[in-house]
Symmetry: C2
Subunit: 149 residues, 2 copies
């Protein structure tokens, strides 16, 4: 059910991206707030960062984090084009999806990579499945904003 | 983990409500979009409707559904005041929370009340826990919008 909800919100994101023009994405979601393209890049950067967090491998596009996570919108940093971002999302999702499908129920309950074995022994909810729960809600949060475009 | 995420987003909602003025809530989240008070009422109406959906009892404020779910914002229907909505949220959350705490792991995997026993036998994911997963993401979605106020 947790994975199905992740897939659902991720599909909502993909559907949104195919319904919106590049020009719309360059606009702010509300006056003075983040632009659509920043939020799109932010969601892709967060998905990419799930790969190491879940122990699935290295980030595929490590440069995204600096532009779309560490720094805010309108930082002056060069952003990829919408077309490049869409390609990167496809690549990240394919990689994530193949690992998600081959993760066993027991492995979902193992620690994620940002918690130490010591801390995990007393906080067993800090596992890989919980990362999916959290990141799904994070995506829903920003989808609620993107839809305003 | 699913319940903890529900509690987290619900607490984000409560914290948001205590940080915002009534005047801010009367504004639109973006030009031409829903007002804050409509989204607040909508989230409370959805939480109230979780009571019968989860088999926890009747809705406490059945009139909310007409104003905040069936009808869109600016329908001309009379809305409760912000103070009334905050009281209703407190009441709904207390009722939901007491039932959530006394629901056993096995009961979470039983059907919710909007699926028939026949359909549930072939679709066992349509259970009470899945309602929480779905409604948590729904809340995150609208919190992403409310924060724009």
């Amino acid at each position: 059910m947790v994975i199905a909800e992740w897939d659902k919100q991720n599909n909502n994101f993909i559907r949104f991206l195919s319904s919106v023009t590049d020009e719309q994405l360059l606009k702010e979601i509300a006056p003075g707030k983040n632009t659509g393209i920043y939020l799109v890049g932010h969601l892709i950067a967060i998905s990419d960062a799930m790969l190491p967090l879940l122990g699935f491998g290295e980030k595929l596009f490590p440069d995204l984090g600096n532009v779309f996570i560490t720094n805010p919108d309108k930082s002056g940093l060069q952003m990829p084009s919408v077309a490049e971002l869409k390609e990167q999302l496809k690549t990240v999702n394919a990689e994530l999806s193949s690992h998600i499908q081959s993760t066993s129920p027991e492995d979902w309950l193992k620690r994620h990579m940002a918690v130490s074995p010591e801390d995990f022994s007393s906080e067993p909810h800090r596992n890989k499945l919980n990362v999916i729960i959290n990141r799904t809600n994070h995506m829903s949060y920003h989808l609620g904003q993107l839809i305003l475009l």
